[in-house]
Symmetry: C2
Subunit: 149 residues, 2 copies
Amino acid sequence: MSDTAPSDAVINAWVRLVRAQQGVLGAVEADLKRAGFPPLGWYDVLLELRHARDEGLRPLEIEGRLLLAQHNVSRLLDRMERAGYVERRPCVEDGRGQIVVATHAGHDLMRRMWPIYQAAIDKHVGAKLQSEAQAQTLARLLGRLIDGD
Amino acid sequence: MSDTAPSDAVINAWVRLVRAQQGVLGAVEADLKRAGFPPLGWYDVLLELRHARDEGLRPLEIEGRLLLAQHNVSRLLDRMERAGYVERRPCVEDGRGQIVVATHAGHDLMRRMWPIYQAAIDKHVGAKLQSEAQAQTLARLLGRLIDGD
DNA sequence: TTAATCTTGATGCAGTTGCATCGAATGCTA
DNA sequence: TAGCATTCGATGCAACTGCATCAAGATTAA
């Protein structure tokens, strides 16, 4: 909470962070859409659900892991359920809540998306870095920006 | 356009790029909103207009510099014009086009936003990096992701 | 137990974005 | 110069997001 003015390097990092993400994410999403797949957010949800295995996840947990607003999770699940990729089950421990699990079609979608997704990451991130070391350094520095607030 | 699978480091850089930007941008936007200011996009437009000085900019140029879709620029300018921050003038060289210039209120808004914006960048980016060198390295690596394709 | 409070998830409404299309003006080709 | 294709910016419509609010269930305290 300092009143310190950020240095030029910091401002530059900020500007490029926004631009780089905007460009790369846009390009990856475009590749997925071009291949006829739903947005990346759907993949993210399915991936979290796969990590949870059979137990499924509460919407609240999805919210926390993907940093989404509550009402957005609710509606994202609506769409995914309508498309047949997830299923909402009543939660026995908490009558207010529910358990979300991926359907077979959901797992299948994830499996079919991955090759395209993977290729897009390689094309729009991997190919633009010059070495493994650069990727590691970038990941490490970005990691510093993520936690703590 | 290789079929190479991205390395773990590349995938990690990708994931963190998305998360870091999401978190940092959200935090900066929240700081601005809390202070009663419009979204960052408005500042971006005004900043581009200031660089253009008196000549103003064509919507097409704004589109290119900010990587926005044409229809989004059109509507963003609608809102900013309605709020009195920009003005659209007919373009003498091209009857289809127009020239966008910032009004006095627009310049003033930018001036008033900068202290808050600056503090937010420092708080959410600068304070999380450990040195000037880290900021420079991060900016350089992010720069690699921006151009060329 | 009962009442007050908090948590979980859904929903109405307004604002914003994406997509397709349109009208107007320009530039190109003949 | 006439006709056709292209470019510039606007707009109708559907989808998505943010915000406020709500209902139902859980938790706490008297």
